[in-house]
Structure formats: structure tokens, C-alpha cells
Amino acid sequence: MADVKVMTEFNLSCPVPRVADDRIVLAHGGGGRLTHQLIEKIFMPAFGNPMLEQRHDGAVLPLEGVGMKTGSRLAFTTDSFVVRPLIFPGGNIGDLAIHGTVNDLAMCGARPLYLSAGFILEEGLAMDTLRTVVASMQQSAAKAGVQLVTGDTKVVDKGKGDGIFVNTSGIGLIEANVKQTIGPSSVQVGDAVIVSGDLGRHGIAILSVREGLEFESPILSDTASVWPAVEALLNAGIEIHCLRDLTRGGLATTLNEIASDRNICIKLEETLIPVQETVQSACEILGLDPLYVANEGRFAVFVPAAQVDAALEVMRKVPVSQESVRVGRVEETPGRTVVLQSRIGGNRVVDMLSGEQLPRIC
């Protein structure tokens, strides 16, 4: 800190060319003056809060005022974000990095409180891109009610990264009155499966940019914090058995994990599964199945059959989950299977994918 002040006050006129400040250079990760500038000019204005402003190696977090009582528990999670392109229709890697971790906490039934952010930047990255990403991180964090309390930045050689990689870790609070365990172990035969909205928008939005596909109406990513929906369910006293966000691998992969974990059958009805028409069309053209396409603002919730209507009523009042629908139910047999009753009436197994979906020839 002190060093920096001295340097600027002296205003040395050195013949060495000034470092351009429109691109990331290796020295931005060197721990010296440029690192400092990056923190002060880009990160602090966006995320500044008393804990971050301690400028310490870690954050010391107050627990009073966040609802910590006997019986309440902490949830802790981490996630890394790599996405190409960095900025896509409906969002960018910054939104994703906040929402991804916030949603992971929400899926534990935890109110997201504090996040860390670790940036790995590639030499040559346009500073404007970083600003855009940081600005949306700031906005989505504010909207989700979380504070970014500690962070780190590294810069790698050009060609050794993909612009920006971000890791975020998060701490959330499970309130003392949330007694039940929320997770696959609580899923029971007879439970209803609800999804919080239409599927496949994020994956197709990314693909459309990556592959230069143009649709008449652009498909926007669904990236969003789903905590408000979970909070509403908890406040309404709905007995939540399991919550899962439908990110990589989509609904099909998530349900397969639960079915195989619990040795149960999850039976879906194709006609109930919500997919936007533009997304469905894009999937038809590319030979992809929207059940496997990634979402960034959608989750599945397992509730007792008797509480489906109540749960849907609550969820539909929250913007992020206003199009919630029941898509299926949990049955006993055949175990470890997800079965889909097709529109036509036949049944098929919805399997785990081996590798990524690949567009087919014709």
C-alpha cells in the first residue's frame, strides 16, 4: 500500500514504455504494483465491503446478524467456471460464477452468505472484458444477497488459459428450523418431481454462439439465482426431500444420479417436460436431446405427492420459478432407472450419457 503511494507521488519520468492498461499482462499476476492496481481499480470498486477491505489473506466473518442459532448449520461449496465464449446471450462467465455457487448452496437448503472468487486470467485478455465480467458478478452477487469477501488473481502465459477461469467458493446458512436432511437420501417412493422452469436454454445459448448458429429469436441463457424459490418453499413449510440444480448433463443426468444412488425408478412424462419452442427447434436441428442440455437457473425438487400443489403454488409466485411444473414421480421398480413415457405412449429408458452429446450427420 505505502509503496504504491510513494511511486505515484514521485511521478518518475522513466524511458521504459508505460505498460498498456487495456490488456492483462503477466505482471498483473505478479503480486506487485500491477496486481495491486488490478485489485484497487477493478475488484474493490465492484465488490468492496468491510471484510474485503481488511485486505487480508482471508476473511473473518461475523456470525451474528446472519441468523446463526443453535441447530443451524453451515453449508460450504466450491465450483470452477470455464466457458467459451466468455460472454454469451443472456449472461457471461461472471454471472455463472456467482449463480453456480449460490445455487449449489441453495440446493443444500442454505441461504447463501459469503463467496470467495479466484481468477485465473490469460495474458492478453482485454481489460474491458474483465470489467464486463466483474460488473455482472457484482450485480448478480448483490441481487443474490451474497458478499464476495476474499479473492485471488493469477495470470498465466498467453495460450495457457482461455481468457478467464473463475473459481468461487461459498458459505451458506441452513436455518435451525430446517430439520429435514435435503438430499438424495431423503427421496422416497411416491415423491413427485418438480422442475422449476423450461429446460435447455443455457446450453443452446452457448452452442448458438460457439457454432455461429443464428435463430430468428435469440435464445438467452437462463442463468439466475434460484435461492428465492428455495427460500419460498422453506418458508411455506414444504417438506423438501431433495433439491438438485440441473447444470451439466441436464435433467436426465441429475435424475440418473439420484435413481442409481437410491436404487429407485424415476418415471417422467414427456408431455409434461417444459422446453421452449426455439430451444426444441434448435435441438431438433442439431440432433440433441434437451433432457441432457445444461441449465444454469433451473432445479428439480422432490416433494411428497400430497404437497405437490402447495409446492407449485409457492414456486410459481417467485419469478425464477414461475413456470414450475410436475414432470414425474418416484417408483420402486425397475431400480436405478429413469423411464420416460413418450408423447406417443411408448416407454424408454433415459440413460446416462457417455461423453458429450454430439450433433449427428443427417
Partner: protein, 377 residues
């Protein structure tokens, strides 16, 4: 959704299924030619709706499945050259060659890219003048016009750093090869709708006549396929063997003439090796005349060691409809999509992959549609 939802309507499907139940009096074996049709049949569980007397066998119409293994080896060898950007449709990437797939080559550093159109590969060549762009031109008649157009356009724009590794195959000669085999079990065909959209269906009349076999040009949606089956079974029950067109909304008898003209200008018919089936006379395309300068086979002479097929894979029998995927001893045991022994386990259009993904791992009981007046069976 327009042009889709109306062909996926449950009520209409039940009615068609009911008509099929009424029509059928004895066992019939019908082959759907195209892998896209196989996919729909298995994905929608159509066999659940059909009487047990109808056996659907899955034909060789999966371009990924029939591309010979030595060509995959060649593709891998070309892709590994440092100057090459190798472009392919997505589902060719995972197909195993003798020892490697294109995905393996990509993981080892080869510049392998997925494109959605051969013209995208041509664009890539124009924007990378210091690299060689090679496009893996596989497929049936359906993809031939676009591939022909890419070569034509390259010639027109004088793009030198573009070439195609051509492995084009044709449906009618393969049908004849199947029908003339002594082990042929097929009594009627659902011809591939999109192949006929390009080529028309005049060339099927002599086949229907010579082998006395009904051929119904059929689409790809569940209702198309049920109607195609109904039309085929009706012919069989009535001892007819005609060429009929179920897919009237997309296919005309003469096909797409401008597309055919472009194909004939760029390609000539040659004998082709089919993976699993062997060589079939006059069953493929290669670049002709002035377009041969875009032939990657000529640009990169082969130096590969002889190709090795898995001894356990029975894909040949499966592509001929003699065996069903789950009748293969290796199916879902040694051969899985993660570790495929043969190509039909790889492509989304491959019969083995369709059976694996959609849970057809053993025979299923048929569910008769619950409609009044359905004859019990």
C-alpha cells in the same frame, strides 16, 4: 410446434397402431433403412404399440456405422498432420478405428473440429490460407448435395487448401445386396425419406419388382413410421409389392433435380466398401474429373498399416437385420458406448447405441393400444 407436434400426436398414433393390429394376420419382418428411423422407433417406444407378429429390423442406413475402418484410420492419420485442420460431423469423432478414434487424435493434439455443414469447412479453409482443411465427406444421398456443393464452390472460388475425404454410400445398391443374400429375412422396406427427397424414388421400382418386395418411402416422426409400417404391412397382407410414398410432404417421385445435377457434376459412382457388409458394386460416390484435385485420398497417399476389426463385433449381421443388437454376446457387456467394439454402438443413429441408450436390452412385452374394437391377439 409446427411440422413436429402434429406428427407426435398420441391419439393419431393409437389410431394407426389400431389399424395395424386389425390388418396383421401373420408374422412379417420389416426393415427400416435409415438410422434416423431406428432412433425414432426406439426413442418413442414404437415397438410397444405394435403386434408381436411384426418384427422391425434395423437397416444399414447409418453413415457412421458403414464407413470402413481403414477410412477412419486414414482420417486419423490425416488429422494428425500438423498442417491439417480436420473437419467432421460430430458423430464421426467417437467411431473407433483400428486403434484410435478422431477424438483420441484430438486429445493428442490434432486440430479436429466439428462442423455442421461442409461449406463451414470451406469457409475455414478460406480464413486459414496457411493450413490444409480436410472435410470428412461421409453420408448417404442426403448429404451428397451439400458435399458436392462444397467441392463445386471450392473449384469456383479457386480455394487450393481444401479437400474432402469422401466415403459416400448409396441406398439402393445396399438394399439389393441385402435382398440377394441367402440369409435375407426382410419382407418389406421402409425406405429412407430424406434420401428420396434428394434422389426421388424411381430407382426403387425395379427393386420392388425384381425381389417382389414392398417399399414405402417413409419419414422420421413417430406417425410417419407407424403409417409407413401400416402401408408396408397392408401390401404384404394383400400380396402386393409396390413402391409407395408415405412421406409426401417432403418427397416427390423425381426428387430434387437441381441437387441431383450438382451431385452428377461433382461425383461419379464407384464400388464401395461397407463396414460390416463388405464391398458392394456401384454403391458409392467419389469425386470426378476436375474435382479430383480436392480428393484427400489423392492428396495424402495412404501409409497406414492394414486395418483391424474387432473379432467379437457382429455389426455385419446387425446391419443386415439378421441379428438384433441385444443378441450380440458382447452387447452391453464388452461393448458399450464408453468402450465400443463397433461403429453401431457409437453413432446416435447406430442400432446398438439406440438399443443401449433407450433400454432395449432385452425383448419387451407388447402393449396393445387400449381402444375399443381392437382385435385381441
Amino acid at each position: 410446434m409446427k411440422f413436429l407436434s402434429e406428427y407426435r400426436d398420441q391419439k393419431a398414433a393409437d389410431q394407426l397402431a389400431q389399424q395395424i393390429w386389425k390388418k396383421v394376420t401373420r408374422p412379417w419382418t420389416v426393415m427400416e433403412i435409415c438410422g434416423g428411423q431406428t432412433h425414432t422407433i426406439v426413442k418413442c417406444g414404437l415397438e410397444d404399440l405394435l403386434p408381436r407378429d411384426i418384427t422391425l429390423v434395423h437397416g444399414p442406413g447409418c453413415p457412421v456405422c458403414v464407413t470402413p475402418i481403414d477410412l477412419i484410420d486414414k482420417a486419423v492419420a490425416i488429422a494428425r498432420r500438423p498442417e491439417v485442420i480436420f473437419c467432421s460431423f460430430g458423430d464421426m469423432l467417437r467411431v473407433p478405428g483400428s486403434s484410435k478414434s478422431l477424438f483420441d487424435a484430438k486429445a493428442e493434439g490434432a486440430d479436429v473440429r466439428i462442423v455442421y455443414s461442409p461449406l463451414d469447412a470451406l469457409k475455414l479453409a478460406k480464413s486459414n490460407p496457411d493450413r490444409q482443411v480436410v472435410f470428412f465427406a461421409v453420408g448417404f444421398e442426403t448429404t451428397a448435395p451439400a458435399n458436392a456443393m462444397a467441392a463445386w464452390q471450392a473449384d469456383h472460388d479457386q480455394v487450393e487448401n481444401f479437400s474432402q475425404l469422401v466415403s459416400h454410400v448409396l441406398v439402393p445398391p445396399a438394399m439389393e445386396a441385402l435382398l440377394s443374400s441367402e440369409s435375407c429375412v426382410v419382407q418389406g422396406f421402409l425406405a429412407a425419406g430424406h434420401v428420396c427427397t434428394v434422389m426421388g424414388y424411381e430407382e426403387y421400382f425395379p427393386i420392388a419388382e425384381r425381389y417382389r418386395v414392398p417399399i414405402v418411402v417413409t419419414g422420421f416422426e413417430p406417425l410417419d413410421i407407424l403409417e409407413g409400417i401400416f402401408m408396408t404391412v397392408s401390401q404384404l397382407e394383400e400380396c402386393r409389392h409396390e413402391v409407395e410414398n408415405q412421406y409426401v410432404r417432403a418427397t416427390r417421385r423425381e426428387g430434387n433435380r437441381p441437387a441431383q445435377e450438382r451431385i452428377t457434376e461433382v461425383f461419379e459412382v464407384v464400388n464401395r466398401q461397407w463396414r460390416g457388409l463388405g464391398e458392394i458394386p456401384a454403391s458409392g460416390f467419389q469425386l470426378r474429373g476436375r474435382f479430383q484435385k480436392y480428393d484427400a485420398n489423392r492428396r495424402y497417399p495412404s501409409s497406414a498399416e492394414p486395418a483391424r476389426e474387432s473379432l467379437e463385433c457382429i455389426s455385419g449381421l446387425i446391419l443386415q437385420g439378421i441379428k438384433k443388437p441385444h443378441e450380440c454376446p458382447a452387447f452391453a457387456v464388452k461393448c458399450t458406448p464408453e468402450n465400443p467394439l463397433g461403429a453401431p454402438m457409437v453413432s446416435s443413429e447406430g442400432a446398438c447405441a439406440a438399443y443401449y441408450h433407450y433400454g432395449r436390452r432385452q425383448s419387451h412385452d407388447r402393449i396393445q393400444p387400449e381402444l375399443s374394437g381392437t382385435p385381441s391377439r
